[in-house]
Symmetry: C2
Subunit: 323 residues, 2 copies
């Protein structure tokens, strides 16, 4: 995939600056290996465990970078976003660590457990009717009232640079990777990963996994235009968003390919990771390994870094126990 012109994107200096900036707050997550999963797919896998990151997801990297990049006077007015997922928790924690307010717009039908998690990090929650338009309007109003800075979950250069620090740690710890894989939803993690690999070692192929039931990114790159995510049907709830104007051109230029996977592969991949590696990953995080498991990629004897994006899920309803 190559775009026609160089996209607006963080450079390596921005990613390294993000790494330094978030270092006091974020975990440098471990890279785990598993002999039996290697044997299963005939490759050498290196799992970068962002499920073990603060708030249980890579999202904290970008949020912390965005929050700690703000100049003092701007920061004092706080940050705001609309999200019911990991970004909301990540932004809330980053704001608390800087000692500034976080205003989180959430649909009024959000699961209680998610509301409680965001509130637990000390954020102010503003409820809105559960439509995209209401979310955006409510956010605008909050920003107008408070002067807070809107931090988009992925379409933001500081967020992209922050997410890029994950691949930076991975490729500096594990030399000689042939491939680095990440899931793709809005593309914040994927674009940061692709940029970082391109700068540090352009020989590394960056490959994304995406659920077939939410394949808007795959189609967007294929057709050269951003498709919205319409009625996505997938267990991978973190990957139901569409690409953004900033993430799309980066992915188009620097990502080798996007592999779409079946739902049953996602559940199988998730369970293999739980059983063999003894770590919790949420369905979204299992999508790249699901792509390897499906066997369409050429992976034999390759050294593959896989970013496990997060581990947040409801332990009362595991997908293999649903009736």
């Amino acid at each position: 995939m190559t775009g026609d012109q160089k996209p607006e994107a963080p450079d390596l200096r921005a990613i390294r600056a993000a790494f330094k900036r978030i270092r006091p707050y974020a975990h440098q997550t471990p890279v785990l290996t598993c002999t039996s999963l290697n044997a299963m797919v005939g490759a050498e896998l290196f799992f970068k465990c962002e499920n073990l990151q603060k708030v249980g997801a890579f999202k904290f990297r970008g949020a912390a970078n965005a929050v700690f990049s703000l100049p003092e006077t701007k920061a004092a007015k706080g940050v705001a976003t609309h999200s019911s997922g990991n970004h909301a928790q990540a932004l809330a924690l980053a704001a608390r660590l800087r000692g500034i307010p976080a205003h989180i717009v959430m649909p009024e039908n959000s699961p209680k457990v998610k509301v409680a998690a965001v509130r637990g990090y000390g954020a102010r929650i503003v409820f809105c009717p559960p439509t995209q338009k209401d979310r955006e309007q409510t956010l605008e109003r909050v920003v107008a009232e408070t002067g807070a800075t809107f931090i988009h979950p992925y379409n933001n250069l500081r967020i992209i640079a922050g997410q890029g620090t994950c691949a930076l740690e991975l490729i500096e710890e594990i030399p000689g990777l042939d491939i680095v894989m990440a899931p793709v939803g809005g593309g914040g993690l994927l674009s940061g990963t692709a940029l970082c690999c391109h700068y540090v070692n352009p020989e590394i192929q960056v490959i994304a996994g995406e659920p077939k039931g939410a394949d808007d990114a795959f189609r967007s790159i294929r057709d050269g235009r951003i498709y919205p995510s319409e009625n996505p049907i997938t267990i991978a709830d973190g990957l139901r968003t569409c690409l953004g104007s900033l993430t799309f051109p980066i992915i188009r230029r620097y990502v080798e390919k996007i592999v779409t996977v079946e739902e049953e592969s996602i559940v199988a991949a998730m369970r293999h990771i739980w059983e063999r590696m003894k770590i919790l990953v949420e369905p979204s995080a299992a999508v790249p390994f699901a792509a390897v498991l499906e066997g369409t990629l050429q992976v034999r004897d390759k050294r593959i870094g896989i970013i496990l994006s997060g581990g947040n899920l409801d332990l009362d309803t595991l997908p293999w126990l649903r009736r």
Copy 2:
């Protein structure tokens, strides 16, 4: 707790030798921290993740040390044990890595998944009727027939030294620990841990967790004699064994105290670890944290190392989903 005379026990040199010996085969497991669990108990917790060890449990350390300590001619005849748990898998893998036979005596009613796991590591399985006497007799016969060396799961000095390497890594990575905690079943892990702490920093208090429903170790230390484990009733299936003649005197001399915990605390501790730390631990591994959660220990503002002993369990029957 102090015994009258110095027990027969590995010295620090033996533990360091074990560390060097198993280093090429065992994972140096990560030590994870979790802000929210710290806040929950008012202490600083450092979790040594033996659930992320090879075969998913600390048992691999002792088994690898025992197997790789054998002189060439003895090793060639293989190793043998009776176990249906983590030790069986650990010994099978260690033997395979050395390229020698492993003979594992298992009760004929062992869960298929456990039989498959041991077989998966290339061991020879010898079934026997499900009584202790049959297990021992069958093992004797196997040893007589093959010349294999019997490797007891815990009552073996090489095993104890091997398990001690876990605490060695922990206290060398995390300075200034006040307490180190481990679960107690047969006492291999606990005695190795206690010895190592005693040698490296005798100021560290070693405290064990044990299920109330299987409190034979607690009673054994209290009364100064080894009680058998009779009809243990606990979800912590790794802790149903009784102390051995080698582990008992070490624990008696070097362990500060054994705290017994309720079953519901074990389940709660396990779920907290899963939810907050995003790692799988088996019930046995959650027992020390359950002791902290119950609140009878003085832990405020202390630095506490907790050994998470393993992560092997059936993902189809999680304790909080049982009806």
